[in-house]
Structures are given as structure tokens and as C-alpha cells.
Symmetry: D2
Subunit: 153 residues, 4 copies
């Protein structure tokens, strides 16, 4: 079961911090946190069954921007839980909020966001988020009793 | 000589995009851009001679937050130039602005920021930016005729 | 419980293949397998309690050489088990054998080796493997009924 | 011009060691050397114009195995030169020898090998090395006066 701090996140990935994630300062390198975000973002996509939807329609996800705020340093060994939830839904994009919780520190170590844009890989241009995907996103958030804010839809 | 788009950046690092920087979508993976930012950030630190200053005083840099906006996709082979400049100076931190320019595309592919916080590694707590470092930061920006904005100093 | 193919490996680490482990050919990049090996090698060191031993004595591990043979391609999503066992014990080094098993493919995807050398980080030179560590290595292998070959001890 | 130690290597790539290549021991992590090998291997492929040949014929390279022996530790900052040359030519594969030379240490830090296998990506099976590629490989080695040994051709 997910950490209580992640109770309102519909998608949570758990993974071990590995020794090689650390840099010369003997804590996890800042770049690695974006790989952690990517791991949960891909799990979010998988839970939406978007990979199959992209194969069928050509409309896939592309990352438009991302950010992280580092609050505490992670060190090996530790196990983390990485959460993702949709906090804003636009016409051609949505914003994921991330939280990384350390088991060893029993608290949040990093928070961040990522903007996922719908992209038509066949026509090589941005696309609107199809209604079908929109329904799946809302259904996934509803599993933890949430309803993302809409902007410009 | 740096690309004209980077004329107002005092620190510019040039490097080849390597094949392994790309992911399954056959463009450079989002995580890698933060490594590019780190490369120029470390060069900025080196140009300030902050490594030696940290060895002498215990006061070193720590990354507080960072962000990137992806405008165009990079692909191998290409050569990039990564710029860093200080756009805001606070009492215990400063903000670096980054720009990544692709030679092949002859334009900006990614822009971002990073907030560098002064940290006293001996006392394990945040520190003020020492006057000596402040002077070096301002001298480095002055090499391209810039003067960073101050906030809360 | 470990996969039957890893029954004779005293140390086994399980982990998810993440999307970002793949490269442009849409299979796990060759470099990443060495990170997988490192992950189980560090777990082997942890099981020997060698980290504490290094802190006490200054004698730590250093990787002298490593190799991998790639038999099948891994793809995301999958879960792997990575095994490590000592196949040869020398006076100042030992050889780890690695096997990576894919759950999805139900078989071995990669095999490899790594030579771990004892290094005196205080005196900055190679060291003999202390008897205490030797006993721990043999005890760990004995948990799966094995006794590593000796060479030059 | 390449370092004298690499005079007999037809393909040499030069690159800066970046800070993030180092791990907690404050030297370049073992995994990173395989990325260095990959960088020069891809340059070797590029010099053979094999990317275009793969697009035309479906026959591309796949890495069958690789190994490294670590002789000295690299640290940031440094610049390295990575060499590749073919030391053995088989019917469906060839063996690359690698050498990494440090400018700062003025010597070899790592040596290694990689076996590149011809693979028919259209038919999803191993392939013979086409005569055209064979000629290109031999012509490339001839630029430094070398002729690779043949085995089983």
C-alpha cells in the first residue's frame, strides 16, 4: 500500500534507490529525479492504456516541460515511492504533479511537475486530447476521489 | 566562438550529442537535458573557482530546484552549445538561466533555469553567499556586459 | 523466491525494467546491463557487510574488469532478476559471475563477470583479501551449497 | 591530432569527462566507460556509412558482447580520447578493440573490446557481413596501415 502522503495519487511506483544513482556528493544526483518522474509518468501512460491508443491512432504523449524542487537529499540504500496525479487538464495538454517519498526519511524528498502534450506522430503536429483519453484520465483520478481542474476546454 | 544566440551568456559549453542520449522515440531523452544543464553549471562553478573556495571554507553549491521547457527535439548526430548566466542574485542563492542551441537546427532547442543555493557542508545548513563569491559572480557576468538583478540582498 | 535458473546464486536482486533503459532500437541499451550488474554487486557487498568493514579498516572493493555477453534483448515492461555468485577466489581479488533472467521471456538474457579487487583506500594500493572477509564470502556462498574455487591463495 | 598511443587506431573520438560521470568514490563510474566505448563504436559505424547501408538493406549492427579492464581511475576535469580498431573479422561479426587515453594522466586508463554482429533487422536473424561492408572496414583500417586478422571467412 502506498505511503499516506501519496493517498491522493492514483498512480504510485515503488523502487529501490541504487548506489549508482548517487554522485560525488554521496547523494542522489539531481538528474536522476527526472528519471524517477519519467518512471511514474510511463506507468501513468500504461494505466491509461495510451500505448495501445497511440498504436491505433498515432496520437501519443510528448513532454513539454518539467520541473523539480529538491527538499531533502536521498541516499542509498533507500526505497522510494513516486506519485503522479493530474492537476490540470487543457485542450491539448495536461499537467502531472509528482511527489517522491522516502521510506527511510518517512517524508517528501522531491516535488515536481510535468506537462504532457498530445502529439500526432503521423501528422507531426500537436493534437487535441481525444475525448476517449480524457475519459480515461478522469476515471483514473476518480479512483482516489479526485477531479482535475480544467483550463481552456 | 559561441553561437550569436548565446552572446549574452558568459559561460558556454560545447559538446557532441551522443547516440546513447536518445531514447525509443529516437530523440534526446528529457532526462539528458538536465545533465547538459549540469555540465554548464559545473563549468560556471569552475569559472568562479568555487571548488577551491569550497575546499577552503566548506561553503559549496547545492541545487535547490530546476526546470526545462522543451521546444524542439534534438537528434544524433549534432553538436550543441549550452549557456548559463545569472539572472537573479539573492542573499543565499542565485538563479541560473540556461539555453541549449543546436548547430544542426541553428536555433534554441531547450531553455531552463536552476536555483543554486549556498550550503555550508561543515555545519550542514544553508549559508549566505559570501561577498567574495558575489564579486566573482558579478565579474563573470560583466564579461558579457551584464549585471544580474538583486533580490533580498 | 528467485527464478529456478538462479537457485545456485546466493545474491539475487529483482527490479523493474524502466522505459528509459531502452535506446533507439527499442531494447535495453548495452550500457544499462552494467548498471544492473553493479546493482547486484553492491547488494553482494552489503550482504558481506563490507561497507562497515571498509569504514573500520580502509579496505574496500574496486572493480578491476567486467564483461557481458548479450543473448536476448530486454524490452520494457519487464521484471528482471540479477544474480551474483563468487566463482573464483584469489589472494587479492575474487570473480563474480552474473546472470540476468527475464520474467517475461522466462530465460537468461545476459551473462557476465566482474573481478572485484581489494583496495586499501588509506594507503592507496591493492590489498590482500582479509581472512574475515574471506570467511564471509565463503559463508554467503554456502547458503546455496557452493564453495568457490581458490586460485593462488 | 590523436594521442600517439592511438596512432594505430583509425577512429578516435575526443570528449570531455563531465562531473556527472563520477560516482560516490569521486572517479568515473565503471558503467560510464561502456558509454564511452559506445560513442566511438557509433563513430566507427558512421565512418563506415553503415547507417545508410542499414536503411537500404536492413542489415545493421548489434553488440554481441563487450568487456573492459580498468587500469587507472579517471576524474573530472579531464579530456579523453577513445579509440576503436578492428582486430578480427569473422563471417558474421567483427571484434573492435578499444583504448581510452587520458590527457591529464597522459596514458591509458581503460582498455576493452566489443564484438559487433551483423543482424538482419527485416528478417530478425543474424546475417553474414556483406562484401561491401567488409571492403569498407578494411579500407578504414588501411588508413592507419592495418589489416585485421580474419577468422572463419
Amino acid at each position: 500500500m502506498a505511503h499516506p502522503l501519496l493517498a491522493a495519487f492514483p498512480v504510485v511506483v515503488e523502487q529501490a534507490v541504487v548506489w549508482g544513482d548517487m554522485d560525488s556528493y554521496k547523494h542522489v544526483n539531481n538528474v536522476v529525479y527526472f528519471r524517477y518522474f519519467e518512471n511514474v509518468r510511463l506507468e501513468h501512460i500504461r494505466r491509461l492504456d495510451w500505448f495501445q491508443y497511440e498504436a491505433d491512432t498515432g496520437i501519443g504523449p510528448i513532454l513539454g516541460s518539467t520541473s523539480a524542487r529538491f527538499r531533502k537529499a536521498l541516499t542509498y540504500p533507500d526505497t522510494i515511492e513516486i506519485g503522479a496525479r493530474v492537476i490540470e487538464l487543457g485542450s491539448d495538454r495536461f499537467t502531472l504533479e509528482h511527489l517522491i517519498v522516502s521510506r527511510k526519511l518517512d517524508g517528501v524528498v522531491t516535488e515536481g511537475q510535468g506537462v504532457v502534450v498530445a502529439y500526432d506522430y503521423r501528422q507531426q503536429k500537436k493534437a487535441s486530447i481525444p475525448d476517449e483519453l480524457l475519459r480515461r484520465i478522469e476515471a483514473l483520478e476518480a479512483t482516489v476521489g479526485r477531479k482535475p481542474a480544467s483550463r481552456g476546454r
